[in-house]
Amino acid sequence: MKLEKCFMHAFNMALHSKLRSWLTILGIVIGVAAVIAIISMGEGMQQSMTAQLSGLGGDIVTISPGFSRGTGMFVMRGGGGEGGFSGGAQATDKEIVLSRSDLQALKGIPDIALIDTNIRGSVEVSYRGKTGKVSLTGVDQRVWSQITTNKIKSGRMLDSADQNVVVIGGRLASSYFDQPIGINKMITIEGSAFRVVGIVDDQSTNIYMPIQMAYQVIEDKKNGIYDSFVVKIKNEDQLDEVIAKIESKLMVARHVTQKDRDFSVSSSRQFQQTRAEALSSLNAFLVAIAAVSLIVGAVGIANTMFTSVLEKTKEIGIMKAIGARNPDILLIFLFNAGFIGLVGGVIGIILGTILSGFMPALMGNLPLMRGTAIVSLNSIIMALSVSITVGVLAGIIPAYQASKLKPVDALRYE
């Protein structure tokens, strides 16, 4: 029998098969959905990661008070710029801060090109009679534009000469208040008026202003006290050595030892590593789900096929009597299994696509997992080949069994 005829008969057989046999494709559906989710998330993460990596660069190091002796899991502050990492600070009575002497120590390291000093706080902001509480970051406006990963959507970055001006987050500008805030509009922060000179291309409600102004606006922050330093080093290749230098200098300046260290030094590279680790464990989880589901799916299809061979024993006998050769029967059943797998795959892709649409929302609270899922042609082709392969593999034994039936026995079967 010609291949296309075998295919057609397999197709008809699938069309005429009972609902019950379709239920067994559930395993394939879930498996393929998981495969789609894995690949599309992976690709989504990959894109956002490369975007961030290129933005963040491997030459940025952040110093913050507090030191975690735990797992080294760094969490990005919600919407905060500067890649401000804070080690899970130890619970201590006295608040741990960075001071001017720490800054002096950093300035003594020749490998450092730029130092941005930051303070953070929560402030009341009002615009056209509406008021809200948002976070504010004071930055060294002379270097901020060269260190920050933030991109400006409209207007400009902060400038050395700036005083009563701010740059605001994208959402604060567009939709936080009833009316959007445009460039050169005045907003009131803790009672003082500031002019908006730039809007960041993000979805935050953050406000950035020169640190000297921030000291006046944020109540409990005293001059000479910092929440974090963000430094840019001269040579990216020496990142590890520079981090070591920074750590030893600061330990001396702060009169602490490795044991009672009270500050953290982290780089974007470390952050990316942590994130990659978290991602890969998530992926491993999904791979496990996919593998188990696909195995369950394969067993299901094999089961369907065994039943179907049994049900069709007589038909197989008839076909053999009227001239079907063993390979004809084998191919019809193999194609049938492959087709069932394919249908499972298609449903799985649809389900997986819907699921990966939800993924970013599910991951929304985990800043490490940020990034949108992308369902690419690649992942669809991949998922389809996986499902067809699983179907065919599952069908091999039943199909072989069918092809080996002796015509007399098969014809006698009722």
Partner: protein
């Protein structure tokens, strides 16, 4: 078609059931043979061997002077497809396929060109009087009509030999005689070799040669030269 000292022994656990015990017979091309005998005498077993659906336990079966026990599965299948047409008591049509598709099926195994296969199937279905029922499923046809579809199917590949195992067994006498007349015509007009198993001695009279089986052995072979003149 020739059988030489053919034995067929079925094994059922410990017990051995000899269904054929040393059968030797030669059936000439163009003959119309009826095999008769009591139930369990080995008629179907003999048909299965002639039809290459089974191989003998001992002895040899020659079809077109080839020893079928020397052929492999695929060759047997091709041989069946090309030279033998089967008609079964229970019709054995494929229930999910229309009459037309059932008749086309053997041609697909023979890798006929699509158009040729379709034309041929249509022609044959019309010749058995089912031109208006081609797209009916077996379940939508009467027993006599189903048997005619199965006759049409057996003719599709233009075989030399037609094997019919109690072709009228499930039909009433009118439909049965109609089927017999069809077989008779195929024999007389198209020169096919017809081998038919039957219980009904009246129907056996249509045949030129009658083989009687008893307990797996041939007890009598008779020829009726009158039959040609019918």
């Amino acid at each position: 078609m020739k059988m030489h000292d053919v034995w067929k022994i079925y094994r059922m656990g410990e017990v051995e059931v000899p269904a054929l015990r040393g059968v030797s017979v030669e059936i000439k091309k163009g003959d119309f043979v009826a095999i008769i005998g009591a139930s369990g005498s080995g008629k179907s077993t003999m048909m299965n061997l002639i039809g290459c659906l089974d191989v003998p336990s001992r002895g040899s079966v020659y079809l077109k002077s080839q020893d079928i026990s020397k052929l492999d599965e695929s060759d047997l299948a091709s041989l069946r497809g090309k030279t033998i047409g089967f008609i079964f008591q229970q019709y054995n049509l494929i229930p999910s396929m229309s009459a037309f598709e059932n008749v086309v099926l053997p041609l697909e195994f023979l890798e006929y060109d699509d158009r040729e296969a379709a034309n041929r199937a249509r022609e044959i279905l019309i010749s058995v009087g089912l031109g208006d029922k081609m797209h009916h499923r077996p379940a939508q046809l009467s027993g006599g009509q189903q048997q005619r579809v199965s006759i049409a199917r057996s003719l599709a590949g233009d075989p030399e030999i037609i094997l019919a195992d109690e072709p009228t067994g499930a039909l009433d006498s009118v439909a049965g005689i109609e089927v017999l007349n069809m077989l008779h015509r195929l024999w007389k007009e198209q020169g096919k070799t017809i081998i038919m198993v039957t219980h009904n001695l009246n129907l056996a009279k249509y045949a030129h040669t009658t083989i009687e089986l008893k307990d797996g052995q041939i007890t009598r072979i008779s020829e009726n030269d009158e039959v040609n003149k019918k």
